[in-house]
């Protein structure tokens, strides 16, 4: 899991009928007439190294376009946060002197826009109000509505099932039982890994629970799974600090469990979330960087694939209609990668230590991930509302 939270955005962006034509100018969103003061059209965001100015701070709900211009000297990022710093949309790596357009689908409510010069910290914040009464959303395909609901149920089940396992893991840490804690580590991560894009959409939880040492920002305290993993495998001992961290992990994950109902889930978000799970595998698991002390990478890898497959299966009724060939390819590739992972799974459900996986085998995994990830990136286009 990345320290960066790129997945969040995808989950929260809605596919909008009609937005499919890139480059066509947006009709104004809901009755405003274009006027010289920019009361409609894109919201201009002017970011500098010490300012974050918006051309207007109130606009109707629905499709919102932020035209960001970085006029500062530092690389910046722009976030739209809902209450509790839940990320609605974000864009990173906006270079000095560049302009980008960030699109989002925003419901009525109050939000904060943040510019983060230097891409660190909480950023320069600006409150915005999104008013009701925007254009009616495109009529959604009922099957997609059901897919979203079913996926939320799945995400909730995964979170609910994770808590008892994490509690056992934490109990073992508290008892100072290194071996037992080690044996529960991988299992305690499965539910999280399966639904990672949802978990990551709450931007404040992932950094606390699933950051790797290299993902820490200057001055950030290292907490969560991987910090405890390092103590268990590297140091082979448990101190008071680790016991505190285990308790904190439980409470942070309970927070996640509680917030699943409010996660923004959309069909394209599900599709791209599935793709991002494969990206995760590609970037961190194939290399063995994710669980570098415990070498339980394959357990995370399998959970990522299972979660991606779940999202795909729920979208399949629509996807297979819109793009039958893609659907056929995805079925075959999911089968292949599942069978490949199966070869490394023992009867008790644990996976081969990644240390024992040779370079050649890693290449085979990498090929399987690419073979699935590439067509999976086309899934979003196959579930947009026509």
């Amino acid at each position: 899991m990345p320290a960066r939270r790129t997945s969040a955005a995808a989950f929260l962006v809605l596919a909008v009928a009609g937005a499919a034509l890139v480059g066509c100018s947006k009709k104004d969103d809901g009755g405003g007439k274009a006027s010289a003061d920019g009361a409609s059209g894109p919201v201009q965001v002017t970011a500098t190294d010490d300012k974050c100015e918006l051309s207007r701070t109130s606009f109707p709900a629905g499709h919102v376009e932020l035209a960001v211009a970085n006029k500062g000297g530092k690389v910046t990022e722009v976030y739209v946060y809902a209450d509790g710093d839940k990320i609605v949309t974000e864009r990173e790596n906006i270079g000095p002197g560049t302009k980008v357009t960030v699109n989002a689908e925003i419901k009525a409510g109050t939000y904060e826009v943040a510019c983060k010069p230097g891409m660190t910290g909480d950023g320069i914040r600006q409150k915005i109000t999104v008013t009701a009464g925007a254009s009616a959303p495109a009529k959604a395909d009922e099957r997609l509505t059901r897919a979203v609901a079913d996926y939320r149920t799945y995400a909730q089940e995964q979170a609910d099932a994770t808590i008892p396992v994490v509690e056992q893991f934490a109990a073992a840490v508290t008892a100072g039982d290194v071996e037992k804690a080690k044996s529960l580590f991988a299992a305690s991560r499965v539910g999280w890994e399966r639904t990672e894009p949802v978990a990551e959409s709450f931007g404040d939880i992932d950094p606390k629970t699933d950051t790797r040492e290299d993902g820490l920002e200057e001055g950030q305290a290292w907490t969560g799974w991987h910090r405890i993993e390092k103590s268990l495998w590297e140091d082979g001992k448990i101190g008071d600090e680790e016991k505190t961290l285990a308790a904190q992990l439980v409470s942070d994950l309970k927070d996640w469990q509680k917030r699943v109902p409010e996660a923004e889930i959309t069909p394209t978000g599900m599709a791209n979330g599935a793709k991002e799970l494969l990206d995760e595998v590609s970037k961190n698991k194939i290399t063995g960087e994710e669980d570098r002390y415990s070498h339980t990478d394959l357990s995370d890898f399998a959970a990522n694939v299972e979660g991606a497959r779940q999202a795909y299966e729920l979208l399949k009724p629509v996807a297979s209609e819109n793009d039958p060939e893609l659907s056929k390819t995805l079925d075959a590739e999911f089968e292949k990668i599942t069978a490949l992972l199966g070869k490394y799974r023992a009867a008790d459900g644990t996976y081969t230590s990644y240390e024992k996986v040779t370079e050649d085998e890693r290449k085979t995994f990498s090929d399987a991930v690419n073979s699935l990830g590439e067509p999976l990136s086309k899934l979003a286009a196959a579930v947009v509302v026509k």
Binding site: A19, V22, L372, E374, A380, A381
Partner: protein, 431 residues
Amino acid sequence: MDAENEQQAAPAEDGGQAQQHAGLSRRAIIGWAGAGVALGAAAVGTVAAATMSGGDGAPAPQAPEVPFYGEHQSGISTPVQDRLHFAAFDVITDDRDALVKMLKEWTKAAASMTGGREVGGGAVGVVPESPPDDTGEALGLPASRLTLTIGFGPTLFEKDGTDRFGLKARLPEALVELPKFRGDRLEAARSGGDLCIQACADDPQVAVHAIRNLARIGMGVVNVRWSQLGFGKTSSTTPDSQTPRNLMGFKDGTHNIAGTDADALARHVWVAPGDGPDWMTGGSYLVARRIRMTIETWDRSSLKDQEDTFGRTKIEGAPYGKQQERDTPDLSAMPADSHVRLAHPDSNGGLMILRRGYSFTDGTDGLGRLDAGLFFLAYQRDTRKAFVPLQTKLAANDKLNEYITHVASAHFACPPGVRKPGEWWGQSLFG
């Protein structure tokens, strides 16, 4: 360098483009200085000859697009472009239909890219939430004379005793497993491959874009086994322009086969009817060798030693005993173990191969030395009668071996050209 006669490349600093000769070019000035230094290495002509004979390297301006369709694949006899991205792929599926489908998609994409157009639906996604077909980094760039040339390796026909795609019976006899030559130190991970694509262009970004997009289209069917970037063509197929220099500082390609010499191409490069299986008629066999140069020791060797190694003067490129680069060599005036003498057609019963090599530097080797050398590419009608005997001889006798090591090797059968839209790469083999 090695199986080379006399040609090689030089990253000509004017890229072989028309130069205004308002004054002396930098090259000409070097010629002045160098001519003085070269005295004694060999009989040197006048300074005037040294500065004039390179021609002024101004070929006619070339159109940015090289035609994709034709009897032969482009990228073989095409005037050599400045940059290379070469990639070898392994096929990771055993589904023949999937492979054929990919080859058809590749052909379509190749026709688009060589024409300076975007791949598939272009660099815009179907919806903002979907990735675009074209990766986009060549937007706004001209075709840059991009050519894409495909080849099939021996392992496509049979691997570990398995006839993978029902092609075993169509394996050309000329597509041999290359013998181990003396001094070879080959890295398996950078050698071989089931398929290859040679992308040449005058702009490196265009060449890289092409390989990247083909690799992406190929996901699930092929993966990249190894790849090599090259700069500074080390061979010219256009004898009327400036002969390029290799990283050893010597002109390379003085005596290469010209892309306009239809007779020589027919004799030495294109597979003729009856040479082998029909599907290869009009094609050519490609040998790729990654040749590492120990440039640090080369640079410490005396000018005389360097010139003795090649048998030509360094500055002018004149064969020993002659004045100018293009004078007919008197082989007997060259040291017996000199590269040019050993590789010259006159020492090899008229044998010639078409070379299109490129220089490379891939960072360092961890010992403080540049990982640099020549990525040697040679096209021929029958490898068994061309590269193999030539390299056997060079590997045993060439003085140049003191400074070079062959570290990777591959051999491919490049099919004939795609003649018109609707046809596809490998159709004569799979069809």
